[in-house]
Symmetry: C2
């Protein structure tokens, strides 16, 4: 099984931490602080990391495509371009493979989902967010997440989620939503509904283990005023995100990529 | 007594909340959420709000100059320009007044301090931050603050503060630092040293009153995992910021503006 995940968002939104937390692996090391005098990359780079993980006894080959530099410049015009190019080039490489006789050794490198990190301003989506999502929503399954959601109170999270959903709707942006089928069993319908009701997920990431006052050892962020637990569903939606990505809807993400998003790309390309 | 405060930073960094918290007044109402379809301002606007407050029995006429739109566009080239124009126009209006015979009714509108809000990424200053600070540090007393610092653990705050100080130094940016004089009394020297050691302040703002488990009613932000108290110096540096602004160094901020920053502007202008 392959899972190709595109991760996009401004620097400092906890993307590397979240990837490490999701797959319980130090895929990204803590960033060595750049020298203050370092020239920042004035462009976006595409960084790919691969690893194997095991989930419920199933082996998963995970590829994470990271986009350092996105949104970091003073002028972020066309920040979406290198990322759209990357998605397209992976579609092209599949198109090329489909036309070959010998298909034995091809590995599907198409992007199955894009985790888009939203800054927890508490206000609304930013112009940069909207522009990016509008350029990619027809090419990739978008899973928007509210980054570092421990910065928002429960009330602020509810308002912010509603506001993001309104922005997404009014801007005509399509995000990935698990389909509910009439012939689904009770349990699946309930899981899908629960996930749908929590979108966009408000998440917190951490690989640090902390001892709680009641003696449990949990992944958490420790503050002087309390401990926020990653795997506690009363504290954030991390568990829901993980369920969507590697358990309940992994197949649906891959199918939609192959049968809908890729086919759209292919027909548009062949029509040109 | 006048205090003219310039407040600069991207949207959603808690600027309005902090101003309300600093002066214990609802100077800025909670923002009515914009309609998703609203055109965002594609430029920076300069918004001025005035009020009278009382501090230790001393009446203070406070003017807050806000800069909505800063850093919010996809392209933020020259975001500093309208703000530098505003600082300069206030210097010009003082210059004009100095040359008049009848000075009776002039109110000093020069900016005494610029509160610059840094996004709590945990990494380093952004290009936008550096560019802005380099354009204003010779014109206004800069007080950088780490916004929404409850998003960082104690350890992350220490690292981030050090990193910001290194960035500021290597980029040749001057920030306001209380002077320590040999003839200061013990208490003043200690207060100045404490303030200096905490720069840049990691702050949290809130006007909401919350009941703590031990029965105190405090200004705080309430999370499922704990309550972060604004006025608790173990939780953030708000108290230190307030001391600097309205108690210990208000005079020094005004004097440095009049005797150093304004004089620099004046001589450069007259030399042209
Ligand atoms: N408050 C909060 N901080 C986080 C979270 N995840 C990561 N961080 C911190 O945010 C900083 C940047 O994280 P990093 O993963 O490097 O962000 P990236 O630049 O998006 O890859 C680090 O100090 C992390 O410890 C989170 O869920 N909540
Ligand atoms: N975590 C955290 N959130 C804050 C803080 N101050 C304000 N907020 C929240 O951040 C959001 C934006 O605040 P606002 O004052 O409107 O920010 P502004 O756009 O910079 O003026 C609101 O939901 C506030 O409740 C803070 O110190 N910490």
């Amino acid at each position: 099984f392959n899972l190709n995940l595109l991760v996009v968002g401004e620097a400092g939104l906890g993307k590397s931490t979240l990837i490490n937390t999701l797959f319980n692996k130090e895929l990204y090391e803590p960033k060595a602080p750049r020298e203050p005098s370092d020239e920042r990359a004035s462009t976006i780079t595409i960084k790919t990391t691969e690893t194997d993980i095991e989930e419920n006894g199933v082996k998963l080959h995970l590829t994470v495509v990271d986009t350092p530099g996105f949104g970091e410049q003073i002028n972020n015009t066309d920040a979406w371009q290198p990322i759209v190019d990357e998605i397209n080039s992976r579609f092209d490489s599949y198109l090329e493979f489909e036309n070959k006789i010998n298909r034995a050794t091809y590995v599907d490198s198409r992007i199955h989902a894009c985790l888009y990190f939203i800054e927890p301003t508490g206000h609304s989506l930013k112009p940069l967010d909207i522009e990016f999502l509008q350029h990619v929503h027809k090419k990739v399954n978008i899973i928007p997440v509210i980054a570092k959601s421990d910065t928002l109170t429960e009330e602020e999270i509810l308002e912010f989620k509603q506001r993001i959903k309104d922005d997404i709707k009014s801007q005509g942006i399509e995000i990935f939503e698990p389909k509910i089928y009439d012939d689904d069993d009770e349990e699946t319908i309930e899981a899908s509904n629960e996930i749908l009701s929590k979108l966009p997920f408000a998440i917190v990431g951490s690989t640090k283990e902390v001892q709680t006052p009641d003696g449990r050892l949990v992944r958490a962020r420790q503050y002087p005023w309390g401990i926020i637990e990653v795997d506690n569903e009363d504290h954030n939606d991390f568990v829901k995100l993980r369920q969507l990505l590697v358990r309940n809807f992994l197949e649906e993400l891959r199918e939609k990529t192959a049968n809908v998003l890729y086919e759209t790309y292919r027909s548009e390309k062949l029509l040109k």
